[in-house]
């Protein structure tokens, strides 16, 4: 019998070093004689660069080099970092320059680098680099940017629309013509950041003797970093190695390859010294990719009973200054809109607007939180206007379990049909409603009201696209010591990836995690791979680890059977021993089996099997697997101050088979709290000139412990048939429904004022303003333009 490890709440392998201060994050890697880099960044949102003078900076004692694009160009195969995800909808290429040279297009864009004995000296010298700029008008707000007369974000562009597409299915015209009611909304999720507590960072080392470049980067995608480094530096991949050390959170932006990684590597080669660059928090605000800003003008058509007949409308997506990663955020926002629901018709016109702001790429959720926010706001509107219960409207529209697998009439951006594989959406919603006592809420609300308190409840459903394929490799090898080594190109950044892989492998190989050593995110251990993003690694790398472990297990049993002269079917693996079932004395250890399997010179290999105990698998799963859930939030709002207190959050989620329920709950809760930030706090503000206004954690607010309620996580388990583990991804689940549910609850609490909240986040001053507007103008259709400074 195999010991059961999968599905248990086993302690994490990662914890000890992290708890004792002995982990190794990129900044902790100290190589002798390391130099430190500081990047000079554009102070203008948009400007022509006339001249860069580095002479004074070079004179500073302790400075080893100052590079601009002119210095790098002869050594690179391209001036630009080429986009990771091409798309036919992209009208023109806007790849980021390695270092800006003739034009800067956002505040924070890197323009030169100083390499010095330490960062202190590098920053001293950076202040002496003189750049002659000619400021240009900036495109800041994306809705303004798409207008014909808007300033161009890039001087020579014909317009600011970098990509455009439609998401269309069903007969939209008749859906709307025959509707009992049509409601229109203008909705606006705003820009925020990922803000992993560890910023980005890189250290590069070049060994002349072996012509080997080693780069440690706080990246989510070591293999794509390897390919870009090799391509741009014109080196063979075999002479480049990328390692992800301990990574202090990713949440999306660390999947992008950045100039700093390339320039640091270049400097290490040029100067023959290790070079390190560590991003500070201000730079993180100015140069690490961000997300979420969109304007939606949408309408929904419904029957009398609240059944949705169709949605249609237009969305403008803030793409930032460059294309750092395809169109996926806008694409997935649009697709997410109808995901949990059986909606027959849809027509969305989407434009991606280039602006003079930090480039946009996925932040935990990658467009999906926006899609959920829009749809749930529309469904609330249907319920309110048609005098139906909000949960009932959803129940009438949710995809029913008997419709599974449910084919959506569209494909992923990779061209794979979107087929929702499994799940029971009505059941998840019912569980959430019961846990939150939704039915009794009106009574509790009335009682609170009698005491002068305003309580509200809100609901949101979500479907999370997870396990993006095609594969992520994993290798399982038992060494002659008897230790089991698991390695994968999967990248760990706090999600317990090593523990997950160890559990899956231990399940097949004796059940004792203490024999297992896991290596992740090192390109030296696998030739190919993708890394960590899109809630994919348990599905992809987990499936490969499972398949590899099964192979090794079969071979262990076969060789052990030879050694013990019994049938392999009568053997079992317990801990690090292979025993004859029911005969405690007859056994061999992993170490003995592995040594035997290595062979002896001049003798036959045991069982005629190939030597060694190692298997590498690339389980290919093209179809994505879809997780889902329902969240119910209860809040209290103070109408005088606009303060919102979240009293309770219940989230029922279904990620299929949970490999480690404790880790799953951690992912869900962490995601919910990120969503609380999106609902109430997090907003990257720019003024009309494109100057960022929130560049410290005192100005851009992240949720802290005192704003965070107890979050109740309930599991619903619909194993997916798409992989042998039955697992779906979970990394982004919590963030998807939270802004929608919290905003719905706030609006519900303010029912007497009849306000409509059309944005996220919504701040106390927004709430006070909405109430004031509702008092003077009962229809309260004014949108608070929260993007403007001085709110």
């Amino acid at each position: 019998m195999t010991a059961k490890v999968v599905g248990l709440r086993v302690p994490r392998l990662e914890d000890r070093s992290l708890l004792t201060g002995r982990a190794r994050f990129v900044e902790d890697i100290g190589l002798p004689d390391t130099l430190e880099a500081a990047f000079l960044r554009s102070p203008h949102a948009h400007a022509q660069v006339r001249k860069i003078d580095v002479q004074a900076a070079l004179q500073v004692p302790g400075v080893h080099a100052v590079y601009t694009m002119a210095d790098l160009r002869p050594h690179l195969t391209s001036d630009r970092l080429v986009v990771a995800l091409p798309s036919a909808t992209i009208k023109r290429s806007l790849d980021r320059p390695v270092l800006a040279y003739d034009e800067v297009c956002y505040v924070g864009e890197p323009i030169a680098v100083v390499i010095a004995d330490d960062r202190y000296i590098a920053e001293d010298a950076m202040a002496l680099v003189e750049v002659d700029y000619d400021p240009l008008p900036a495109a800041v707000d994306c809705r303004d940017a798409v207008k014909a007369d808007a300033p161009r974000a890039h001087t020579n562009a014909p317009d600011n629309v970098v990509a455009e597409f439609n998401l269309k299915f069903g007969d939209v015209a008749s859906a709307f013509d025959g509707a009992a009611a049509v409601f229109k909304e203008s909705l606006r999720p705003m820009r925020g950041g990922s803000h992993s507590m560890e910023c980005r960072g890189v250290i590069a080392n070049y060994e002349v003797a072996t012509d080997q470049l080693t780069v440690w980067s706080s990246t989510q995608t070591p293999h794509s970093a390897l390919r870009l480094l090799a391509d741009l530096l014109g080196r063979d991949e075999g002479h480049v190695r990328v390692i992800t050390p301990d990574v202090g959170g990713g949440f999306g932006p660390k999947l992008v390859f950045y100039s700093e990684e390339l320039v640091t590597a270049f400097a290490a080669i040029a100067l023959r010294r290790p070079v390190k660059w560590i991003e500070d928090r201000r730079e993180h605000f100015l140069s690490t990719t961000q997300e979420r800003e969109q304007y939606w003008d949408v309408e929904i058509a419904a029957d009398n009973d609240g059944r949705v007949r169709g949605v249609r409308g237009a969305m403008v997506h803030d793409h930032g200054a460059y294309t750092a990663r395809g169109v996926n955020v806008a694409f997935e926002a649009a697709q997410t809109l109808t995901m949990p629901y059986d909606v027959p018709a849809c027509d969305l016109h989407v434009r991606l607007a280039v602006t003079n702001k930090v480039p946009v790429t996925p932040v935990r959720g990658a467009g999906q939180p926006q899609g959920v926010f829009i749809m749930e706001r529309l469904l609330d509107r249907v319920a309110l206007e048609m005098k139906l219960d909000r949960a009932e409207v959803r129940a009438r529209n949710l995809i029913r379990p008997e419709q599974m697998p449910y084919s959506k009439p569209f494909k992923t951006r990779g061209g794979v049909p979107v087929v929702i594989d499994s799940g029971d959406y009505p059941q998840c919603q019912a569980k959430a409603l019961a846990a939150a006592s939704w039915q009794d809420f009106p009574q509790r609300q009335a009682e609170a009201r009698a005491q002068g308190r305003l309580l509200g409840i809100g609901i949101a459903n979500f479907v999370e696209m997870t396990g993006r394929g095609p594969y992520e490799p994993a290798t399982v090898r038992i060494n002659t010591s008897g230790k089991i080594h698991v390695s994968s190109s999967a990248a760990a950044m706090g999600q317990g990836t090593k523990t997950m892989l160890a559990q899956i492998v231990a399940e097949q190989l004796g059940g004792d995690m203490s024999h297992i050593v896991v290596t992740t995110g090192d390109t030296a251990t696998s030739a190919t791979g993708f890394g960590g993003f899109g809630s994919r690694q348990t599905v992809t790398a987990g499936s490969s680890a499972h398949a590899a472990a099964v192979k090794v297990r079969d071979k262990v049993l076969a060789v052990a059977g030879q050694l013990l002269e019994v049938s392999h079917q009568d053997l079992e693996i317990v801990g690090n021993e292979i025993r004859l079932k029911g005969a405690a004395g007859l056994k061999v250890t992993f170490a003995e089996v592995v040594k035997a399997s290595m062979g002896t010179a001049g003798f036959y290999l045991p069982g005629g099997l190939p030597p060694g105990m190692e298997a590498t698998e690339h389980v290919v799963i093209n179809d994505m697997t879809y997780a889902n859930g329902t969240e119910v939030a209860t809040v209290e709002v103070d109408p005088d101050t606009g303060a919102v207190t979240i009293l309770d959050i219940v989230i029922v989620h279904d990620c299929g088979k949970a490999i480690n329920p404790t880790i799953v709950e951690g992912q869900v809760i962490g995601g919910v709290v990120h969503g609380i930030g999106n609902a109430l706090f997090e907003q990257m503000l720019y003024n009309d000139d494109g100057q960022p206004l929130t560049t410290t954690l005192a100005e851009y607010l992240l949720p802290t412990s005192t704003e965070t309620p107890r979050i109740r996580v309930l599991h619903h388990e619909s194993p997916t048939p798409l992989n042998p583990l039955g697992a779906k991804g979970v990394g982004e689940a919590g963030v998807l429904p939270t802004a929608a549910a919290v905003v719905s609850a706030i609006e519900n609490a303010l029912g007497q004022y009849a306000v409509t909240i059309r944005q996220s986040p919504v701040s106390p001053s927004d709430i006070v303003a909405l109430i004031a507007a509702a008092r003077t103008e009962p229809a309260a259709s004014a949108i608070i333009d929260a993007c403007r400074p001085g709110r």
Binding site: G30, Y120, T706
Partner: protein
Amino acid sequence: MTVTRKIAVTVNGLRREAEVPVRLTLADLLRKKFELTGTHLGCEHGVCGACTVLFDGVSVRACLMLAVQADNHAIETVEGLAAADAPLNDLQQAFSDKHALQCGFCTPGILMTLTEFLRDNPVVSEEDIKIAISGNICRCTGYQPIVEAAMQVVKARQGNPS
């Protein structure tokens, strides 16, 4: 020219000396000169709390202090909570038990904040703990498991293991 000073600091019980530039931060002294890299820098502007260490027993932000200010003072860092080969202390163990860390980047600062708080306040509520760690930002855990870990320690130290 960079002005330097000779300083002597007691770090995790050991007296150490260094010649440091006067502008070197306490965090960089610990991380770079003393190679105690458990103290992390999440913002370098005093908000995130990742750099929290104890200065003569009191929590401070090592990013906002200069190394020279630590001359003749005692500093405790996360490395001092458990020796390399020793078992985790009760607070560290509770963090592991309750999954109170994911990426672990914020964790040393939160451990040091709670080390001081629970030492000075042996009987506390969940709400007290939330307030105590409200100056430490964690992007991964949602704080709930951290509060649970601290409560486990509170109960165990009072003799009622949860």
